[in-house]
Amino acid sequence: MASKGIILEAHDKWAIILNEKGQYKKIKINRPVQVGELWNSTPAAAGWKIAIAAAIVLALLTGCMDYFSVVAYAEMSSGVKIGVNRWDRVVSVEASTPEADKYIQEVNLKGRKIDQAVDKVVEDTVSAQLNHSDKPLLVITSTRNDKPERERLLRMLNKKVKQHSKENKKSTTTGTGTKTEGLSTQGNQQHPDAVKLQERIREHLKYTQAKPSIKKNLIQSLPASENIEDDLEILQPTYSNSKNSEADQKPALQPEDSNKNKCTTGSKEIKNENNTAASKSKGKIESTKQYKDNQKD
């Protein structure tokens, strides 16, 4: 709004005016003025306000664009493809099958957190497919080459999916690294050596005198067993009262040469030894290979 008034006192860079509201004000001036002259506020002052307003609008627009910008897709085997932004909010939903298209029209997934959306979709559509489809249950694709982001989403969604697939012994989530290439189907199949290692670990856990809590943690860290009863048997308490029992301290697996073999003292060390940022199966494969090499020696 323009400020009007009469110049009462004029100096080089400032003046005193009596404005139309009856207020005496000291103002900055960018041109020479004379006493008695009528004063209107200059466009330069309004320019600052316009610049600030434009900056605020630009910031809001940028924020809106960022909110609707998809950074990763989560595609489920039921044909539903969910696009999420950097805040893990669903901003786009697509369908690759007629059934999925019908489903997404009935259920509003936009705006939800990705774990809630995936949970909902899996609960509604995929449960029936668990035992039938050989395709991965969930595939994460990122629009940028952002592996840590994909792995973070995988870990988060893995828990949700596993809740619906307790009876399914296959690993059901995976991730890919490119924007345009297709889906990976390797993630739901384990390396044969990894499977064997897991079986040996289970067999070992059956007879070890370790604390039940330790056994439970180990069992939970392994993929779901084909025979759930074996897992339950392992979890039966076999812990002895003596804390200093020799059996507790004696490691079950002891290779002949401890210097050559790093995986020597049981599954706990295997787990610790392979505690890297890479997937657990990969770490176990490496330890398995090393164990086999040592066995040959």
Partner: protein, 241 residues
């Protein structure tokens, strides 16, 4: 003391008559009265402030003599005619300057201003400005007697509209009563007790904005017509208007 518009116009008319009758020395008598008007015209034409030592100020002074020589009362008022003469001479001077070599850009006026003809309202605005300037100068002198300056008024002026309206109401009450306004002008103090008891005015308002109220009373009582509308309460009018 500078003359108000009408008084100046009448004075100049009389001076031209005297000049035509042979009294050449009358120009010296009116020169200082009419020079501010000529300088303001030159300033508006050049779009910058003109100092008395500038070349344009000399041209404006010479234009007064030319106007006295060539003015015809049948063509209208003297001051607008004088303004046109000053403006024409300034424009001619600028055009001659352009033909020379190095001229600072700040001294050049815009082509639009050079070629645009102006009507009498251009000079009327300048005359109004001079009238306002006269009033403001008188106000400043009177406020100095009350130990009040414009800078101080800018500091103590009420910022909120509601408070300012209340202060304007007090100004109106005091200036409407000869007794109260005389008390303010003579004793240089506000009649706080009377205002509190009779008009139920908050003494805190009177204490905090005393100088603002006194300045408003001075403007109203001395009939500074250019400034009075700014200190009246919203929707109020001064007597006779």
């Amino acid at each position: 003391m500078p003359y108000p518009h009408d008084a100046l116009e009448n004075r100049m008319y009389e001076a031209v008559r005297a000049y035509r009758n042979g009294n050449k020395g009358v120009i010296d008598e009116v020169f200082s009265d009419v020079l501010p008007f000529c300088l303001r015209v030159a300033s508006k034409t050049c779009d910058r402030y003109i100092h008395e030592e500038d070349e344009e100020a000399s041209i404006a002074g010479l234009s007064i003599l030319e106007a006295f020589e060539k003015y015809d009362p049948d063509r209208g008022s003297f001051l607008p005619y004088l303004g046109r003469v000053v403006r024409t001479r300034i424009i001619d001077y600028k055009r001659r300057e352009k033909k020379h070599a190095v001229i600072p850009f700040s001294h050049l006026i815009h082509a639009k201003d050079v070629n645009t003809l102006v009507d009498d309202s251009f000079f009327d605005d300048i005359i109004d400005e001079l009238d306002r300037k006269n009033e403001i100068e008188n106000l400043r002198i009177i406020l100095a007697e009350f130990d009040i300056s414009f800078a101080e008024l800018a500091r103590v002026s009420p910022a909120q509209n509601a408070v300012r309206e209340k202060a304007k109401q007090v100004i109106h009450i005091i200036s409407s009563s000869p007794e109260l306004s005389n008390q303010v002008l003579e004793k240089k103090m506000l009649p706080a007790k009377t205002l509190r008891d009779t008009y139920n005015i908050n003494t805190k308002l009177l204490d905090r904005y005393r100088k603002y109220i006194i300045a408003g009373v001075i403007i109203m009582t001395h009939e500074f017509s250019s400034l009075a509308p700014y200190v009246l309460p919203s929707g109020g009018k001064i007597d006779g208007q």
